[in-house]
Amino acid sequence: MTTVLLLLLLAVGAYLVAVLEDWTVSGRFRLTAPVLAGIALLGRESIVPRKPDRIFFEVAPFLLLISAILAAAVVPLTPDLIITDMATGALFINAALVYVLVALLMAGWGPDGAYAMIGGWRFLGQLIAYAMLIVMPITAVVMRAESLLTTQVVVSQAGVWNIIYQPLGFILFFIAAMALAFLPPFDLTTSKGELAGGVEAEYAGVRLAVFRLGRLALIITLAAATVIFYLGGWQGPLLPPWAWSTIKILAVTTIMLLAGRYMPRIREADLLAWCWMLGIPLALLNILLVGVLVLVFP
């Protein structure tokens, strides 16, 4: 029952992300736009390029969707509203999100197109850069919670939210989450200008619809993960828990989408250099600081 409800919520969330994305790009708030776009995509022919790696080409969009759903499975919206409260939840989110990389690699290699392939390998190069920036801030969060349970992580923020307790980790995680969902300005994988859509370039019709759906689910999942790790999850005064979760997740999604609207796209070499030379030392410093803080102010 909870599973069905949460999957429905995930679908609604993905729809809202689509509306918000449309709003940040076009400046108009149209509630029906994603429906029309979806119908248009489903009506179009789903072209298969010449000499594809057929298995990868077919599997990749679904793998993207499945990895987003699996990551969403350990995210609690209220104390009870969670699909599975795994004892290693905070690690499992990472494990599920790494398969986004695998999906994009397959989508890049499968269709046998130059732009798609560059996009796919680019994502691999980037992931090596910021994968550490996802894992290391989560390590610091888990250190404070003294548990890998995601519900326990939220409970541990009852006094002070992690965004105040470890702001450095929040910034790093937020940037890395945006890069993982290939949102602008980190959309090097699907950059519209230089790669003509990158990994999306060779997809059309139903397959592209699944691919886009997977990406929307990924964005909402990452926003939810940011909320439970840093913004105190369902906690907040007056309103009931589910309302706080909804408000926070939508707010984070909006900020994620708006941030890219006003920034130029980063060069991939720059992103790699910044992540390695600045991001990883900062993440290590964050772990050290949180370690000291946990000992001093538990």
């Binding site: 790696d53 290693t88 990389l101």
Partner: protein
Amino acid sequence: MTAQMFFIGFFGLAGVWFGIVVFRTFSMVRSALALLFSQTALGAMFLSMQAEFLGVLQIMMMATEMSIMAIFMVMFMMDPGGLGEMDMTHQKRLSLGAGIVSFVAAVAVAVFVDWGPVASVSPDAAQQTIDLGLELLGRSMLIFETAGITILTAMIAATAVAIQPVKRTREQ
């Protein structure tokens, strides 16, 4: 036949099958991703053996590792797409024999050794994680630290070996 038995058998079979696919396909990216799915199946097998932390860790680690393997395959093979169906093997009969002999020997050991009493219950997942953490930072700390230092050494050594040698010439 219990559910656990079924899942161990199923994921084990999947792991071995993907492992065989690694050496049977001509496409290098397929080969690397087959290895990835083999390892993922093993991770799922760990999960069905109630080793939750190890299973999740395996699933997470191998995805990055094998993706990196895929890009190296594409870099270093002459025919990464496998469209030419080039034969990239040698001493086939010897290696097949060695593989089968080692498989049979290992199975014989597994079957004929008396493993003693088998435990039916294991600690629950949260307890396991706590135990493992205490083990890592307690009795086995020295071993774990040694592993960390070894990784650091390997990283430095690999970078030192792989880095482009600077040519010091007077012409420029």
